[in-house]
Point group: C2
Chain length 123, copies 2
Amino acid sequence: MAWNLDSDRPIYTQIVEKLQMQIVSGFYKPGEKLPSVRELACAACVNPNTMQKAFTELERSELILTQRTSGRFVTEDIDMIKQVQTTLAEEQIKIFMDKMRGLGFNREEIVTLLELLIKGDSK
Amino acid sequence: MAWNLDSDRPIYTQIVEKLQMQIVSGFYKPGEKLPSVRELACAACVNPNTMQKAFTELERSELILTQRTSGRFVTEDIDMIKQVQTTLAEEQIKIFMDKMRGLGFNREEIVTLLELLIKGDSK
DNA sequence: CCATCTGTATTATGTGCTTAATACAATAAT
DNA sequence: ATTATTGTATTAAGCACATAATACAGATGG
């Protein structure tokens, strides 16, 4: 598992986003037990406190449920998961379009660029 | 001028990116004199030290030139400006594609989503 | 000449993030 | 029953970022 944490933004924020992505993409399945705070902290090479803080944040989205002494579990509400996926995707699209427009491209140019990229290479 | 600075990342970093965008998008023309540190700090509602730090960073890209006592100027090298624009666009595309793929979409789905968005509404 | 504007530097203060080192309570596992 | 594992809480330290309040040197403009 590559965590790819950079130092530009708070680590705990990046972890929240990473875990969200892993849930909505199906890396962690609905109902699945997540690794413990200490385990994940070790895997991501961060302090347990930092991982704990990430979980506390993530919990507010209700994508995960906490059972005080047995661990944390992914929600079984697949509709909610799908909805979060859609919301996050829309956010990313908006961020991307705003950035590209800020760089001086219009909507058509952006799509054209992406189409070229898709059809052109295989990366 | 809306600066839209958030508290999630260092302000000076966001300002560097904003100024880069304003230069490559043509908001600031080649050779144009930029507002002073104090002026821009005031406009962006940040401390002059923070704006100064942003400029120091931005200077390393050579998009701007400093004249010790008269101010800062956008480079007149339009090829370099164009090249920076391309580089920044490629970075944004990569970031976007990685995020979307992390959310569980494949390349074709991403382009389809964007095409729908372009043709669908006018936002 | 003199006041003003330029970039730049310095010192101090506060805040949030991160790490480290513990500790505790409740449950699960043996 | 005892041990291990779970989430959680606390305290201390270090660091980067941001603000505030100044100060200085070298042009520029009147």
